[in-house]
Every structure is written in C-alpha cells, then in structure tokens.
Symmetry: D2
Subunit: 281 residues, 4 copies
C-alpha cells in the first residue's frame, strides 16, 4: 500500500461536494450507509440551526467501489446540495449566473473573507465564503469515514467525546465504557450531570442570540506501534494529526497527551503520568 | 499561485468520470463548451470504432467555476457515462451488483490485467480493466483542457500533429502554418499526400482486422523561459513531460528535441541543429 | 518561485547534521554567521546542561550559496558534531563500529524508543534515540534561519517570547516593544518581575533534580494577506504551522489566536476579540 | 515502509555534493565501497577526458548508516570535490568569493545557461552551469546505488548495456549472459565485434575534435508484479521511469518495451511480440 491522498471540491451553495480518495487498498468493505451515518452525526447536535435540518446529506459512491468493496482505484464520493434549485441561477458555472445577486462586500472578522478577497481578487466575497465554509467539512467527514473503515479493518477503534461547552466542563473523568456511550448523548458528553449543564448553557446562549465554543477529545485505541516515524519531522504522527485538526475551520487549539497542562508540571510528574498512561492503555 | 495537482477517478463502465483540479488561479475564463471541444477531438479520428460514437462526452463543471470564471477553489469536472443504464446492475457500488456477470478471467498480454489482478487480488479482472482503460484518458483530456486555458492566458500556444501511422511517415517536413491546419485533417496530418496514404493504411488494416500505431509531435510556442528548473532533477520540464506522456496507456516512447536521432549524429551536428532551432523559434 | 521543501539527516552522536533546502529563490543575502546566531540561541537558556555547552554549533554552507547570496540551487548546510572523536568508533557507518558498546535496551516512557524499536526492529534502542533526539532540531533551526531570511526580505518580522515556565506565568500582558526585548532575557521573558520568578523556579527544580515545561508565543508581523489558502484543507496556514510546531519533540499543544480560551467564551466575545485583534495589528 | 524521497545539492566546483535519502527501511546492508563502485563506473568510459580522471569520487556516509546497516533514519551521503582547493576562492559561500573571476556571459546552445540566467537573474552564467552540470549526476548515482541495494535485497537484478554509439549499432541481439558481461567492456557493449567498431568511432570523433551520442538499454529482472499502479496516472511505473531518465542532462529520448518500433508495426505483430516477451521473461 502506498500513501493515501485526497482532494475535495465544492462550494457551499454549489450543486454538490466532491471527494476523490486515491490510495485506499482493494477489497475493503465499504457501504454508502456507513458514510451516511457519519454525515448524519455531523449534522446532529443539540441546538443546531435550520440550515442543518435542510441538508440531510447522503453520499453517492461514483467510482472505486463495486459490489460493496473497494477496487483499489480512486474512490469518488458525491454529496448533493438539496438546496441547489434555489441557488442554481446565482451559482451557475456558466456566464448566465446572476452575479449581481446575493453579493457580499463586507468581510466578517475571523473569517477568510478579507484575505481571500485580496488573494484571489474577488470583489464579491461570496466567491470566498462559498468555499471557506463549514460546509466543506462534510466532504472531509465522508473521506474520514472511508479512512475509519480502513482503520477498523486493522483493529483500530476511534472514540470521541465532548469535554467542555462554553464554561461547562466535565465534572469527573469518564472511563472508556462511558466515553463509548457518549455517541448517544445530544452533546456527546460522557457524564449525565455535565450533559445536563451543557444543554442548559446552550439554551441560555441561544436565548441570548449567542453561541458557544467547546473542547472535544479523541482516542485512537489499538493503534499499531510504529505508525508515523521519528525519522523525519513531517512523518511524525502528532504533527500530522495537529495539521488535520487545526485545518478545520473554528479549531483554535490542539493538544496531544498531557497538552498544555504538562507546562505547569515538573518533569518528574510528567514522567509518572506517562507511566500511568502506558499502564492504562 | 502554488503548484497544480489533480486526481481523477472513474471506471470505464461506471456512472461517471470525475476530476478534481486544485491550484488553478482565480479569474480564469473557463467554459464547458471549450472542454467539450477537446473531449470531442479525443473521440474523433479516422477509423474509430462504434464505442466512441456512443460516448459523445460532455463535461459538467460542478465546483470551482462561477459565471464563466474560476474561483481559485478546486475545480470538479464530471463526464457522465451515457451507457451507464446498461451497466448499472453489473457495476453498482452496493452489494446488489451482479458480480457473476461479464466476468473476465483471461489476462490480455500487454495490459495491466495480470499484474493488477495480482496486486489487488482481483479474481475478476474486470475490476482491473475497468480502471486500466483508455477511457480514463477522457478525464485527463478534461484536466488538460483547463491547463491549456491557463497556458493560453499567458500566451502559450500548443500544437500537435501526427507524423506517422503504421508504416506511413510524413513525406516532407511541414511548416507551422500547415501544422496549425492539421487539426482539421481526419488523421491530424499536416501534409495532404501523406494524409491520403495514412487513411489508406488504416483502411487496409481495418479490412484485415488489424490496427496501427503511430507517432505524434507536440509543439509549445511562446513558453516563458524558466518554466521548470535545472536546480533539482524532479523540476526539469522534459522529465515531467516525459512522465505525463509515458503514463498514457499505449505510449511506448518519448523524444525531446532531436530525440534518438541525436544518438547517431556527431556532437558538432547536434550543436548546429540547436543553433538552427533557436533561430527558427 | 515554487514551493520550498527540505530534508534533514543526522544522528545525535554522528559526525554531522545535514540539511538540504530546495526551492529558495536566487539572490537572497545569506550569511553563515546569521544562521549561527540562531544556533547559538537554541543552545542558550538559563539552566541548560553541559552537553549544550560542549556543542557550540557552527553551520557550514556547502551548496547553493556563493559570494553571500543564494544561487537558486539547493542549499546544503552542515553542522559538525564536535564530540564526534569520542563517538567515532561506536557510531561508525562501516562494519568496524563497536555495536556492543553503549547499548540501550530499556525504552524510556514518553520517547520513541519502544515504538521505534518495534517499527525498525532495532534491538539496540540507541539506533532509535540517536535520531529521535532533540539534537535534530539544530538542523531545523538552521533551515528555519534560512526561511526567516526569506521572510525578512519580504518584510515579515517574527517575534517570540516565553509566557510560562513551570507554574510561573506572565504577570501582565507585555506590549510588542517589550516582546522584542525578550530576546535578551535569559529566559526569553518580556516582563522583568516574571523573569525573576521563572529563574527561581528553574533553580528550585534543578536543585531537586527535576525539570520544567513551559509555554512560548510566536508572532509573525507584516505577513502578506493571502499566504496559505482556504481553498484546500492542506493549504491552510494554521494547519501547516500546527504540524511544524507539534512535530518538535516535547511540544504537546498548539494554539492559534485565542486558542483554548475561546472554548469558554461566548461567540459574541470571540467576535469582539477579533475586532480588537484586527485593530491592534 | 513509506515512499522514498531524496534531495541532492552541490555545485560542480563547490566543496562537495550532498544527498539525503529519506524512507529507506532499516536493516539494509550498505557499504561505502559498494556505492564507490558505481561512482567509479560513472567516471570510466572509453574516451573520457581528463576532468574525469581527476575526480576519483568516493562517498562518505555521514548519516543513517551504522555498523554497515541502515538505521531507518535519513541517509546522508557526501562526495567531496578533490579540486576544491583550486576553486575555493572563486566559489566561496561568503562575501570574500572572487566573483569577478571565471565569469561566464555567453550562454551555450542546448544548455540551461540562458533560461537559467533569465529565471534566476544571474548575470554570471557560472551560477547556472555550476548546478546545471553533469557533475550533479554523481549525486544521483550515489542515491541510485542505495536504491539498487534495496532492489537487490528483494531479488531484483538490474542490467544495462550500450546498443549504439554514434552511427555504430549492435550487430546482433545479445542474450542475457552477454549483457551481464557488458559491464567489463570499455564501452559497455555486449558484442565483441560491435565493441571494436564503437571504439574506433570514438577514436575518429576524438581526433576530429568531436563527440558522439548513443543509446543504452536497461533491464530489470525479477521485478515483483504490481510495482507502480494503473490506478492513477502518476503511479504508473513507466511514466516514473521516463521522468527519471529524461531528467538526466543529455537524454533526449526514452522508450519502453517495443518503443517507437511499435508505431510502424500492425497491432497484431505487437500482440505477438508481447507474447514472446512474456515467454522470454
């Protein structure tokens, strides 16, 4: 097997998102329904707005998969935009597009609008925000679902849960069994009491017309030793994971292992923690 | 502008070919009709079989282009397979695919069938030949049409003509004006007499149930000096062009400049030829 | 200009570290002394051990630079190991190496020893730790010094300072003028009072045979808008910076902008902070 | 094992050539003497000039190899320029370089001089030709010797011989046993009679102050089926080999299998030839 690469394409209000994944080995069982489950999970979430409700993403596998198994050739995935009929005239690829409508000229702080408009010389910032949009992550979720199938096939389990929403943090450290159950929590929280407080915090923010950030944690279990390599900086796994995470719009921090907490601890305590960690794993 | 990369996906009898091109600058005029002209040219050709007649490829631009101009975001192109209804049941991505039909178990010499079947452990060699197919070059033609638009925008002209078909070679060296006209020849030949002999050779081969190879020549005019670089082997333009050409199924040789003829000439003659070449350019 | 790539090589006790940087434009003023200043800064630091004192790194530019300016061809940099005579017999590339000496068989927690030994089937973990060593960062500092020269040439200023060492955090937020002066602090701290507390904390840890972590902050000023791109996930600047930072051994967390603090704040406050940030810049 | 990448650096009259190879697996037996044999073979050759006699290249392995085996970490190779003392003042990296000496202002046809001078804005074309030099291929030979060791370790045998020098072509098709013996011919020719004619042709050209081109052929035997892939154009082995070969200065043509001869043959004959080829392999 060589390395895996993928490209995504698609504007937020364009006809579809497209992903091509090259390098997935042949013979891997892969079903559209499985990818759809992750797309659905991306769209769920306590307090989500209406746009998400409209979308109801479904993937179509248009290359690289036959009879439920990968062929070894590039996999192409499509997620159609169900709202396309409302945008078709505005976003059309041809010269008939109504470019004078839905024009955006005021860049939003904290977004790619201003820098993107300057880089690509777009007077209409819609041409930036259509791509620099959270919608693009649906394509990455689809690609990630394929990667996840590959990891599952070699025994790796990936778990995630939410540790913090706004000011509300996990009241106690959950065990793996509870973390596995977090998938059924409306806020992906592994602790019932904290979950309730998180939902209340979201309710309050929404009533105030505001929104909240948060912190999530991901575990990969049964990872074969030796993934990545110390041999060259750009093969180090933690660096590559940090890039993948930090490239998600809105992500402002990434920690690995003890994270920033390690800074405040003496080296001896970090050493002990690592022993404990190895013991737990 | 950074470097340009692209991925293609799609099986010969699958629902569609898909291309994503990443790195094309924003603001480039790009029309589907223009890409279609190149797709049509790929399908033309004196002596072509019926499969080609069926296809009549049309591109759809589903990302990266709005109102006739590129956005700077990845461009996604789709070429649908008009024959898909006849293959849908056999090539379906899901478990309902009728894998027991149209099975191929006999590898063809000179094709990827045997090596591909071994590499990806495909018992049904259809799973190889669906991707290791000349059909895939339609996706590359579409990507190439986009690249060509970019080159045209900076003044580069690319010309091609056919020098040889089977045993018939160009009777005389055509000038650039004639080479520009070769596009309207049924065999892309820049010389009327040779064209006639080429067509007769094709007729004879077809009557005998045989086929013919050939040699074509490509010119790029007004190329800005300094494309590529001597600074590192993998940035050399002739090497990259050789890879692109040799990766086309059926291509068995690539020459640059004087090509293999230079081997038989003394260095002094090569030197003179280069002077002449610089003078002609 | 194309993209820049670089490879580093060298074991901690090998004869030298080697770096090749490909893609730096021609005509850039570059002096070994300038790289040496960054190598020296890497080796300084309040509380550093003796190994560092021995090294006194100096760079030699053995390719790509002539007469004080880059040539456009790959740049090769060498940092010799002054301790090599003591290690020559043990680390020799040839069969005469005394492999039975200085053998390491006990993997250290939190290091690459165990995974590296398994991945590359090294019985002697010295073969891992010689490369998975902080020494390798000297090669990256040399490469970074070249990159910094390129950034300076286009007006970018890069500043860094230390915000926390062990439990001691910056007592007050310093302004840019003070941050520029942090380079002359023994602990790179921009606040005199905090600096004193940091040095005391280091003294105490050292007396207890312990060590301390910390947090540093980097600013890049006058960055041209449009570096990186929202167009594809792997071109996003914050993701690439996160990879580069997280790949440094010992780095356990990376934040961009408001970082993890944004998680606890309502979206409206983040919005205000971004306005303020734009105003400050 | 991941993919292998390498960078080379070094000017023709600089202090040394440097190569870093990243991705070679650990545990591979590798000796400097073995690489030296290939460097020597590169420098041999009937009719070679004096410059080659001076060089007598020797490799030093300064990273990635210990006790005669690769470590899995990047391999750094150095080939010193024995002529460096004569060039040190002219080619020095620092400002003391005597840039006013050995200046080249007249670009040679067929070389990178003119395009390189324009691309990198070099008034002194020495700054181009020092890198765009056949000398650089010594670094590639060293890297190739390492790759060859890896291939040998999996049973692949690589053979080469010269088919043509100037107007003299192989009088008869040699068998593999003779091709294996070509390594001991002064002109790497597998046929004694042709060898004699080739040497005479070289003698005549040299007397006339001229030089000759040629054609060589490479075989790779026992290649595991499935190297490369039809799945994506840039993974096809013949394309990658074509790039590697065409990037060697002076190479003007690359053929694979039947090469250009296939153009003149009917498809049925090509088909038969492939059967015969498979039978011979």
């Amino acid at each position: 097997m060589g390395r895996i690469r993928f490209l995504t394409a698609g504007e937020s209000h364009g006809p579809q998102l497209t992903v091509i994944i090259e390098g997935i080995p042949a013979g891997l069982a892969l079903a559209a329904e499985e990818i759809d489950r992750w797309l659905a999970r991306r769209q769920q979430g306590y307090g989500r707005g209406d746009r998400m409700a409209i979308e109801r993403d479904r993937v179509e596998m248009v290359a690289g998969v036959r009879g439920g198994r990968t062929l070894g050739s590039p996999i192409a995935l499509i997620i159609r935009n169900r709202d396309w009929p409302h945008w078709q005239e505005i976003m059309a690829p041809g010269p008939e597009a109504r470019l004078e409508e839905r024009v955006v000229t005021r860049p939003r702080p904290g977004h790619a609008d201003l820098a993107g408009g300057m880089k690509y010389r777009h007077g209409d910032l819609r041409n930036v925000l259509e791509r620099a949009s959270a919608r693009e992550t649906a394509a990455r979720v689809a690609a990630g679902a394929v990667a996840r199938r590959l990891l599952e096939a070699v025994g790796v389990e990936i778990l995630g849960h939410v540790r913090q929403i706004g000011p509300v943090r996990l009241a106690r450290e959950p065990d793996l069994a509870r973390i596995r159950e977090a998938a059924s929590s409306p806020v992906y929280c592994a602790d019932a009491e904290t979950e309730k407080a998180m939902m209340e915090a979201i309710d309050r923010a929404r009533e105030a017309g505001d929104s909240l950030g948060g912190v999530f944690e991901i575990f990969a279990l049964n990872v074969p030793p030796g993934l990545g390599s110390y041999a060259h900086w750009d093969r180090r796994l933690d660096g590559r994971l940090a890039q993948a995470l930090m490239s998600i719009p809105g992500i402002k921090g990434v920690e690995s292992g003890l994270g920033f907490a390690a800074a405040a601890s003496p080296g001896s305590a970090v050493h002990d923690a690592l022993h404990w960690d190895a013991g737990r794993g």
